[in-house]
């Protein structure tokens, strides 16, 4: 049972921002896949929803050196976009692993990030890719690096009156490779036990020129594996070195015990899957 609420359709971005500013208690409705569930559970009883679904300003995928994905782009659109596939195939396939096809066709890229569920797929991949969130409010626009967007479980640094407008994904450096892997021991549409987004660039001498690794489902926010990164940067990447570095992630994650495994098991799996992700990126 959903409690009665008022639905206001914003006709433009400016109108949506005005509505947000005038009613800080209002919630924003995009694809609704997370919001409506919380309302059905009775955990959320908003008196007003601002439907931003019609805002053309938040739609579409563009390239201007960087890839810019409008917040209202669905996961399915992002997965199938020729621009996304050309810019970063790993990102396209990451969007293609979100939940099920029905949810991918309904849920939006921006809504998924604003919901800040630590078990979601795009956040760790976008952190690894060094993506940036563009936030818009009546006061103007600001850009937040993806890893600073996530503050806690279901909490972001999107302030009152702010709307996530688009995400910006810089191009991969020449020779860099990216991947996204997730461990699903139960069913294909389950939340991951652990997931890993990684970018690795190995130079002609076989040394790690750059690396970025971020994990999902093993902390309140995506976890950037900085110890793993610094153990590899500048080093010759042999399988043994890769394994040794990957295992350092066990000290960086903070998993919770649930039906997908104990905290100790998830910690161990974080090491195993970080190694697998990085190994897949070796030239």
């Amino acid at each position: 049972m959903i409690a009665p609420f008022e639905l206001v359709r914003a006709g433009s971005l400016a109108e949506a921002l005005e509505l947000l500013e005038s009613d800080p208690e209002a919630h924003v409705l995009a694809g609704g896949t997370a919001l409506v569930l919380l309302m059905k559970q009775g955990l959320l009883r908003p008196s007003r929803l601002i439907d931003i679904g019609g805002l053309a300003e938040l739609r579409g995928i563009r390239m201007n050196g960087d890839l810019r994905i409008g917040a209202l782009t669905t996961h399915l659109e992002a997965e199938r976009s020729a621009l996304v596939r050309r810019h970063c195939p790993a990102l396209a396939s990451c969007f293609g692993t979100v939940a099920t096809v029905r949810i991918r066709a309904q849920g939006t890229v921006g809504g998924n990030l604003a919901h800040a569920d630590p078990a979601q797929d795009p956040p760790p991949m976008l952190v690894a890719l060094g993506a940036v969130a563009v936030l818009e409010s009546g006061a103007g626009r600001r850009e937040v690096p993806m890893e600073d967007l996530f503050v806690d479980v279901f909490e972001t640094s999107i302030g009152p009156g702010e709307l996530l407008r688009e995400i910006v994904v810089p191009p991969l450096a020449e020779g860099a490779r990216a991947t996204y892997v997730k461990f699903l021991p139960r069913t294909e549409d389950d939340y991951a036990t652990v997931s890993v987004g990684a970018v690795l660039r190995v130079d002609a001498d076989g040394r790690c020129a750059d690396v970025r690794v971020a994990l999902g489902s093993v902390g309140p926010t995506p976890v950037r594996a900085r110890r793993v990164e610094s153990a590899l940067r500048g080093e010759r990447v042999t399988p043994a070195r890769l394994r040794e570095a990957a295992m350092l992630v066990r000290e960086e994650v903070d998993p919770i015990a649930d039906a997908r495994g104990s905290a100790a098991y998830k910690r161990e799996m974080a090491g195993v899957w970080t190694e697998r992700a990085l190994r897949a990126l070796l030239p």
Binding site: G42, L44, V153, D258
Partner: protein, 149 residues
């Protein structure tokens, strides 16, 4: 759900005890707590607002000091609060113990045993535990600041 917090505070034990044994004053150190009104006989009424992402809990209820030992500097509290809008309640007992570490520092231990009932429980224990843990940690940090200033 059981939580156990310990910390060392840079203030003499008498000073810390004076703050924590004054329930309305100690209440002001808990993030999200509204004014705490005395009801007499060491019972109080107050509110606690907790935000977990988009979900906001407005808990209203009673606090009762069930035991208080001025010499040992220990106390026990019972909290019973409900959110009628969302449908759910929190019942908790807290045991507080202060010990003098040095003449100018105090060890504090807060043991909390909380039950979360009704719809609020749908958030899941790990999330609730993390939030409760943060509230108690902030209480101790605020207490340390107030006692040492």
């Amino acid at each position: 759900m059981k939580l156990d917090h310990s910390a060392r505070i840079d203030a003499p034990v008498e000073r810390v005890w004076a703050i924590v044994s004054d329930v309305p004053r100690a209440g002001r150190l808990v993030p999200g707590v509204g004014p705490v009104e005395p009801l007499g006989a060491d019972r109080y009424r107050g509110t606690l607002r907790v935000q977990i992402g988009p979900v906001r809990l407005d808990l209203a209820g009673d606090i009762e000091v069930t035991s208080r030992d001025e010499t040992a500097r220990t106390a026990a509290l019972r909290l019973d609060a409900a959110d009628h809008r969302l449908g759910g309640a929190v019942r908790a007992t807290m045991r507080l113990a202060l010990t003098q570490a040095t003449p100018s520092t105090t060890d504090i231990r807060i043991e909390t045993d909380a039950q979360v009932l009704g719809r609020i429980g749908e958030l899941g224990e790990p999330i609730i535990r993390r939030k409760a843990d943060r509230i108690v940690s902030e209480l101790i940090a605020n207490l340390a600041r107030e006692a040492s200033s």
